[in-house]
Amino acid sequence: MGNAKLDRASTEQMAVPPAGAYDKGASAGDAGLDGLAGAADLDDFSQDAFDPLADEGFDPDEDVDFPVADGSNLQLAETKSRLSAQAAAECPENNDRPAAERIQELFREMGKRRRTLLGILDYCRTMRPVLEVADHITELKKYDRSVYSPTDFCSLLQRAGAIERVDADGNHYVEESLEPEVAMVDGVQYLEPRTPAPAYWRTTEDGIAALDADDPVAATRALFEEDGSYLPIYRRVLTMCARPGGATARDLSRAIDGDPLVQSPRLYSSHFVERLNVSEALAWGDRVWVITDAGREALEALADVDDPASDEIAAGIMAGEE
């Protein structure tokens, strides 16, 4: 009991637990997926014909073995995993596309993390040790919380071709497979883990191009052109966030959510705040939204937009300054 030698080779060769009485060849999960793939259109479903409580002849005393519990799925899942990994490795789509295209796609898909991504690219204009980059990203994320770790951000940017991993000499970093060092201590042999050569992150030329092409003012202008009917709302949001101390989400909600302009279609302050955030006209600070330099330029461009509420807020700001 518990005495069999379980080295890695023998582990891989050990048989999968034998199939139970309900081995149907293909797994129940597979049959289910195939069934769904060929399912009828949703329109064919009749709610009236389906009774979830109908007696299907279930016998509570019957000893039922669930077909999935025979271990056959385990082997199938492993096979699928190997095949999908193999297919992914052979798929050329990601690495064959130009870096500029991949970077653009990354910024499009992670629009809400744009500020962090740009901050990383800017920080790595000169090569930086990977741990310093991680610390910097942690700081960037301070008011821009994300489930992505610093490592995730770097991995995404590297995959997009926006940053590259280099060695101390600035050359492409070669990943080596190191073996632990053998050490003798008081006549006893030990293994001591080695430390890989230091690595650095550096923004690529494509990354710098994307960074230099970032134009928050133009992005905000484009936003206003697209959302022209809501310019008074945007002016009000920017005006409130230009106040000393910025504006809380609650303040913005009170000022915006009851406005007739946002009743149909129904929109809330968060919609406008987020769009301004993505275009970098606003930034989230210590529990408040504050205006950025690009936001101030955008606010100037909206000076002639008719919004009495904004006028009142602006007057209050000026009175406070005096």
């Binding site: 069999a4 899942a77 042999q189 883990p193 430390t195």
Partner: protein, 250 residues
């Protein structure tokens, strides 16, 4: 995970043997029990939750023995040391992913991962919260131990079972140093029984599954290491009890 509800006090010098050689042997045994406690503590930590950066740094700074006498232990340490030799700032995430892959899985049935619960491997339908859990819970309570409320998993998770061994080893060392050999023998018997009745009864099956799911050398190495360590320790405890003066170790 374990909360010690007992008030452990010294029991005086009853039963202390006076011969210097025997004193040295008892001291050495106490040191060995401390080392066993440390090993069980480390294993429990590695199974409890993912490796974080401070732990990774600590592991990287350690030395790992070779030629321990058990092939699984040697290979386990070698794999772990090799992984650590190639660890970088991405390793914490990589290990967290592998931890989830090995112990949590992404499927819907009981074969989707190496679920580290004794009940899963000792119940007919691989379910949690079965007889094994009730048994170990009773054992923990008998020794004044309860599960920490901050930890949500069941008591028959491998981590608290290893931690239970850690506590017993530490108490054994303490008993030896205070001259209470009877207590030390009693604790060693408990360790032997717990290894035989619980840990070595199911962990080899867990280890087999870990080998199927783990992608990193770290968790492959951990699987071999825990298997070999339990095997070695069972032999060690049995040997100590035989040498304690009873013919069958009872």
């Amino acid at each position: 995970m374990m909360v010690d509800d007992t008030n452990q006090e010294t029991t005086g010098a009853a039963g202390r043997v006076s011969a210097n050689d025997t004193d040295d042997a008892i001291d050495q045994l106490a040191v060995l029990c401390d080392r066993r406690a440390a090993t069980y503590g480390l294993l429990a930590r590695l199974f409890r939750v993912e490796v974080d950066q401070p732990l990774l740094d600590e592991l990287h700074a350690r030395r790992y023995p070779t030629g321990t006498g058990d092939d699984d232990v040697d290979e386990g340490y070698r794999l772990i040391a090799t992984y650590l030799s190639n660890a970088d700032e991405r390793s914490v995430t990589e290990l967290a992913v592998d931890f989830a892959r090995v112990f949590i899985g992404d499927g819907v049935d009981s074969y989707a991962a190496a679920f580290p619960f004794e009940s899963v491997y000792t119940s007919e339908k691989r379910l949690k919260m079965q007889a094994a859990r009730d048994e170990v819970l009773a054992i923990y309570h008998a020794y004044g131990l309860t599960k920490d409320d901050a930890w949500d998993e069941n008591e028959d998770h491998i981590a608290p079972e290893l931690e239970f061994m850690q506590v017993l080893c530490a108490r054994t060392a303490d008993a030896l140093r205070h001259g209470d050999e009877n207590k030390a023998v009693s604790l060693l018997r408990t360790q032997r029984n717990f290894l035989d009745d619980h840990l070595t009864a199911w962990v080899p099956m867990l280890v087999h599954d870990m080998g199927r799911f783990a992608h990193t050398d770290f968790y492959r190495g951990l699987a071999l290491l825990v298997n070999g360590t339990l095997r070695q320790d069972a032999v060690f405890v049995a040997g100590v009890l035989l040498g304690a003066g009873t013919e069958s170790g009872e």
